[in-house]
Symmetry: C2
Subunit: 222 residues, 2 copies
């Protein structure tokens, strides 16, 4: 077993790559933006990761996780999402806050602790934001949710998951009850990339397109 241990910084890079999409290469600029560092620094670091066989970097094309890198990333994500469950369900912390708190804890969690935590929680399948929690072997189901902006006006949908957004957007969503399990309807789509108007529990709520991209929903059958 290559049971190595990686720095917090490395784990954050790998997690960021995994969260950004496990298919296509990610632009270095995007990584830099998400990690709040300069593109030059991101470039440096990507080279280090490349040397360690954790990512594959095609200049001017982007960065991809290798199998090894993906394995680490999935493990980090597992740890984080388990902690999110614990913090929300057992410590009763705010839905909008558990991501950040769990992000600190994830880097300080040994494998034995991770597995004991998973058992304690009853092996949850998803985190409080609706995203899947990989199992001990790194396997997880890919969600079938659709980004909210792709839904037609008038359709009833249920929020399935929230992709991790930047800044205080989670608190913004929580205030408006846009959380997994919530049913809502698209009441109106403003022209010129304008906001969506949603109907949630009988109330009208406007939601910018950029934010709506982070909300994945499934159609209600009726």
């Amino acid at each position: 077993m290559t049971e190595k241990t990686f720095t917090e910084s490395i784990e954050m890079y790998l997690k960021t790559l995994a969260e950004a999409g496990l298919g296509e290469p990610i632009a270095i600029g995007k990584i830099a933006e998400k990690l709040n560092i300069t593109p030059v620094s991101a470039n440096e670091m990507v080279q280090r990761l490349s040397r360690q066989g954790l990512v594959r970097h095609t200049p001017y094309k982007g960065v991809e996780l290798t199998k090894k890198g993906r394995g680490v990333a999935v493990d980090v994500i597992r740890r984080q999402r388990l902690w999110e469950c614990f913090l929300l369900e057992h410590l009763n912390l705010e839905w909008s806050q558990v991501y950040d708190f769990a992000c600190s804890l994830e880097h300080a969690t040994a494998p034995i602790v991770t597995e004991a935590l998973a058992k304690f929680l009853g092996f949850p399948k998803t985190c409080p934001h609706g995203n899947p929690i990989p199992d001990e072997n790194g396997n997880f189901e890919i969600l079938d949710g659709i980004p909210l902006p792709a839904i037609e006006v008038g359709k009833n949908v249920i929020v399935q998951s929230i992709k991790h957004p930047p800044g205080d957007v989670l608190a913004y969503l929580q205030e408006r009850n846009i959380m997994p399990g919530q049913q809502l309807q698209i009441a109106e789509v403003a022209p010129m990339e304008g906001p969506l108007t949603l109907e949630i529990n009988g109330r009208e709520v406007a939601l910018g397109l950029n934010i709506a991209e982070f909300v994945n929903v499934t159609l209600c059958e009726e």
Copy 2:
């Protein structure tokens, strides 16, 4: 409020100082030994801590926590001991392992999480090793236990607490059932700084003096 945040390294120095005794100054050499670094490095770091007002360093005399430093140290200790309780009682991890696991988590735990954890655990008064858990304001009771080597032969005692020992000593103690709450008797004291012979649950157990120093006990009343 000076609600600053400190590096993991700084927290470890301060915690080490607090654990080594909250009275007299600690020699730099001792700190270096406990943190597994060279005395030169420890000296450097102590100067940094001094500049930040966290410790008071009297050359050739030793290092002491300032009020500010003690506050941080007590907070770190609170976090660690709460996690120890959680890891032992809820995740069912080994008594001998929870100290180290908690030590990683303690540096990644925000105040809100600490308080929520304390509430979840029911505000425990001591950690699994019998050491007091400071409350939210940093107050805690000082234990009245006596180091095992100070007890006379023949006396019945109950283990009150285990000071944190180096290396694998906790596993060694756990194997021999020397844990808080355990009743035992000093059967024999070998001459020339030789080991103690203890009677535990009808079995005889030899325990070196150096290790016994870490075991605090109270006399059984009868």
